[in-house]
């Protein structure tokens, strides 16, 4: 009976591929960004002939968040809602252990958003001494909030249009 010769298994030559990888990795390491830059969209109030930013037409409000050394002072403005109703939306959110209470702010704004669904604008009015990081965190808390819906974490939009202005002295 003839002896069956098994074909010899040759190793794949991986050296050219290795060379390619070894060149590509330093190149990518040089150009890779290990921190990611993003943007926060903000505008400042300007005089224009266009329609006012204050919500008009459907029931909607523009929330004004004044940032002071003590915390947040919230007021509302609108072109359609009466003064008495607007006054009822005013609130004070004091600082919690020396820091702005972002959670409470988000929850309060969510309540307003549920009531006036067409609302999308907030006016942030920081005091002179307010830190830039605190301003950004306030805008984050007002723009959207994280909530667990059906066991999954989701971002719920609140007031995505942010206007920054200063206190008129």
């Amino acid at each position: 009976m003839p002896r069956i010769r098994r074909p010899k298994v040759e190793d794949l030559n991986l050296i050219p591929l290795m060379n390619l990888f070894v060149t590509m990795i330093p190149l990518l390491l040089l150009t890779a960004a290990f921190y990611h830059i993003g943007m926060v969209s903000v505008s400042v109030p300007t005089q224009s002939e266009e329609e006012s930013d204050v919500a008009a037409g459907k029931a909607a409000v523009t929330m004004n968040i004044q940032m002071t050394g003590k915390g947040y002072t919230l007021t509302a403005s609108s072109g359609t809602i009466g003064e008495v109703e607007l006054k009822s939306l005013d609130a004070l959110i004091p600082k919690k252990s020396g820091k702005y209470d972002l959670e409470k702010l988000s929850k309060y704004l969510e309540k307003i958003k549920r009531r006036y669904e067409q609302s999308d604008t907030i006016m942030v009015i920081p005091g002179k001494k307010v830190k830039y990081q605190d301003m950004i965190e306030t805008m984050d808390a007002a723009r959207q909030m994280e909530a667990t819906v059906g066991g999954k974490k989701r971002k719920i939009p609140l007031f995505p249009v942010v206007v920054v202005t200063s206190v008129v002295e």
Binding site: D11, L14, I15, L17, M18, F21, V22, M24, I25, L28, L29, T31, A32, A33, F34, Y35, H36, I37, G38, M39, V40, S41, V42, S43, V44, P45, T46, P126, G127, K128, K129, V130, K131, Y132, Q133, M135, I136, E137, M139, D140, R143, Q144, V164, S166
Partner: protein, 158 residues
């Protein structure tokens, strides 16, 4: 006996052992995939000024191209052009007229007239996260007066 051992040794030394590159290839493939997934062409164009720590934010808004105003702990720049010195929380050594930083205003107006950007009303603003609103407001007000009322605050994603 001795000869037999020597013969076996010399035969063994002639065979060149092949290097097993499989595990090395696995490792390099993983690194390559990781780096390719993290690379972003947009962020290559974005240069953060020296002496500046951007604030952290959870914003998911991407990078926009526009004229860049950079407010670091030491200087105020437009793109890479020096505008004014910064000391503490104040802009020093330049004319300030009614809250308007005059050299910043003039340079921004020049940029606006030369700009080919689609949106000529937007500024990308880089500022240190520890600055107070007082100094930021001065720069923002000047930019708005020069015809740039819309801002993209540069942030570091959380």
């Amino acid at each position: 006996m001795f000869d037999a051992v020597m013969q076996r040794r010399s035969r063994a030394s002639k065979e060149i052992p092949s290097l097993n590159l499989n595990s090395m290839m696995d490792m390099l493939s993983i690194i390559l995939v990781f780096l390719l997934a993290n690379i972003s062409a947009e962020e290559q164009d974005f240069v953060i000024a020296k002496n500046l720590k951007l604030p952290n934010s959870n914003s998911s808004l991407g990078f926009d191209k526009a004229v860049q105003v950079k407010l670091s702990r030491r200087e105020l720049l437009i793109e890479d052009t020096f505008v004014a010195k910064v000391s503490g929380n104040k802009i020093v050594g330049v004319d300030i007229d009614g809250g308007k930083i005059v050299p910043l205003y003039n340079l921004l107006q020049r940029y606006r007239s030369l700009s080919k950007d689609a949106d000529k009303t937007m500024v990308v603003f880089q500022a240190d996260k520890n600055f107070s609103f007082e100094i930021l407001n001065q720069v923002m007000r000047t930019a708005a007066m020069a015809g740039y009322p819309n801002f993209r605050f540069a942030i570091q994603k959380k």
